[in-house]
């Protein structure tokens, strides 16, 4: 254990685990409760279009990814407001269009391109200090946003039309939430990898909502669970030399399935 901490990549990975857990616990709870799991995936893949465009224009691909994912968030929020289309359909379409744009721009870019896809993947073992500061920034932003607007977010998530009649800035809150998800996903996926982000957004909050009846409590539990998954996964992967991201996800997945079983055989649990 002490040996493990003597490696700076392990120290960074453990700190990254803590920071990821905070964002994932909070944003994940909102994502699961407002049924936006695929918004996160959609935003991430739309970002691919931005990477392609950035290559074409010769600017930093991360800039392109962030720009595209923010635009996607706004568009997604706006179009849905305007047309009351089903979310899953809209996301599916954005997802596909984003990828297609990325591929076509990459196509039009002369010369050799470093594998575009690699901009969507990362590893918790290769987290740098810069990454850690950036993650801290995203964490503060997310925390601030949710603390400041907790009651309004709850109201919008639960009953939009009432929130609207109360003249809450429903559209703004929704778009801000999607943008926050987009930012978190794009930033974190560079650091820890896309599939890990989606798993960590979904699983802890899903387990929480099985057993708890309050959004706030679910957020707390989700943070703790993410922390357990990332730390546990890191240690396991270290001792058995497995890919860290995949190990973390496997632990999360097995926990979720166990939670389902426990919940089913539990007489004191909420519906």
């Amino acid at each position: 254990m002490a040996e493990l901490l003597s490696y700076s990549f392990m120290r960074n990975a453990l700190i990254a685990g803590v920071l990821v857990s905070l964002t994932c616990g909070i944003i994940g709870t909102l994502v699961v409760l407002k049924r936006m799991v695929f918004i996160s995936g959609g935003v991430a893949h739309t970002a691919y279009g931005g990477v392609g465009l950035a290559f074409y224009l010769g600017v930093n691909p991360i800039l392109g990814a962030v720009a595209f994912s923010l635009v996607a968030s706004f568009l997604m929020g706006y179009v849905q407001r305007q047309t009351r289309q089903r979310q899953d359909t809209l996301i599916g379409v954005m997802w596909a269009i984003g990828m297609a744009i990325g591929i076509i721009f990459a196509d039009m870019t002369p010369g050799y391109k470093a594998d575009l896809m690699s901009y969507l993947f990362g590893s918790i073992l290769a987290v740098t200090h810069t990454d850690l500061w950036m993650m801290l920034g995203v964490n503060l932003l997310v925390l601030g946003f949710v603390i400041l607007f907790y009651k309004e977010l709850q109201a919008v998530a639960f009953d939009e039309s009432f929130a609207r009649v109360r003249n809450l800035p429903v559209d703004l809150l929704y778009i801000a939430l999607v943008a926050m998800i987009g930012l978190a996903v794009v930033m974190l996926m560079r650091v820890v990898g896309l599939i890990m982000i989606i798993a960590l957004l979904t699983v802890p909050a899903a387990i929480g909502s099985l057993f708890l009846n309050h959004m706030k409590h679910i957020m707390w539990l989700a943070m703790v669970l993410s922390l357990v998954f990332t730390t546990g996964g890191l240690l396991l992967s270290y001792f058995f030399n497995l890919t860290s991201g995949a190990t973390i996800i496997l632990i999360a997945g097995i926990s979720y399935l166990s939670a389902l079983l426990i919940h089913k055989s539990c007489r004191r649990c909420p519906a």
């Binding site: 409760l33 309004e152 709850q154 998530a157 009953d159 009432f162 009649v165 109360r166």
Partner: protein
């Protein structure tokens, strides 16, 4: 209870209003004035446009033509003083939220975006929960309530906004008789305290017992301002023989209970 708006101006003025959906015009040439302290009961057949009228009133649906003012302002602005209980709750039935948190949402507004709930808020929430008889359930999750219990919670939430005008779209659906009577008694009391009430209902008993003015809506607003249901009113609104409509509801009852309790 609420004296922000104690001049003689009507609360709501609707003039020559046409509204509807892309497929059809549902409301035709509606003229309606809601005066202060009124208790309007709106009846009408299914598909008559009652819910549509409320949606226009709440600024959730844009009229096709005509004008509407709510407390002298546009519906989008004026609605902040309207309390609203929707016909079919549009909430997510599985959402993990407590009864208390739902009711407390009534205290939210765009003015206080950055402020936490106050003890005054909590007092109001307690009171309203007590009014609808759900105080003991305040920590229960909404997803563990029965249909009628949920409906009461929604009424409490609307009351928590301290509305000048309270709009209810068939609020006692799946509410049992005891609670129903309690709720109407409550509306009656609130109304006497100065809250104007606009109630959509199919329950003629209620109309006859509590309501001050009656409107009958079937695409057009057929009657408005009468204090008593007459056979002709029902006939022209519903377009069918009255004895069928009034079956099980002797006309005597209507007269007997008018305006009283």
């Amino acid at each position: 209870m609420n004296d922000i708006f104690k001049n003689s101006q009507p609360l709501v003025e609707i003039k020559n209003l046409y509204a509807g959906y892309q497929y059809e015009v549902v409301l035709e040439d509606i003229n309606l004035t809601i005066e202060q302290d009124d208790f309007i009961g709106l009846i009408g057949p299914n598909g008559g446009g009652k819910t549509t009228l409320l949606r226009v009133l709440l600024g959730l649906l844009q009229p096709k033509s005509g004008s509407i003012t709510v407390m002298g302002e546009t519906p989008e602005k004026g609605r902040r003083r309207i309390g609203y209980v929707p016909q079919f709750a549009e909430y997510d039935a599985e959402f993990p939220i407590s009864v208390r948190d739902v009711v407390r949402m009534g205290r939210l507004s765009s003015q206080r975006l950055f402020k936490p709930y106050s003890t005054e808020d909590d007092r109001v929430v307690d009171e309203r929960l007590d009014w609808v008889g759900m105080l003991e359930y305040q920590d229960r999750a909404i997803r563990e309530l029965s249909g009628g219990q949920r409906q009461r919670v929604y009424i409490a939430r609307a009351l928590t906004t301290n509305p000048t005008l309270l709009v209810l779209d068939e609020p006692t659906i799946s509410v049992d008789i005891e609670a129903r009577t309690q709720i109407y008694e409550l509306l009656h009391k609130i109304n006497q305290d100065g809250v104007t009430i606009f109630l959509v209902t199919h329950d003629l008993n209620v109309i006859s017992s509590y309501v001050k003015t009656i409107g009958c809506l079937n695409r057009k607003l057929h009657y408005h301002g009468e204090k008593q249901i007459t056979d002709e009113m029902l006939q022209s609104t519903y377009g069918c023989p009255v004895d069928l409509i009034a079956h099980g509801l002797p006309h005597r009852v209507l007269a007997e209970h008018k305006g009283g309790n």
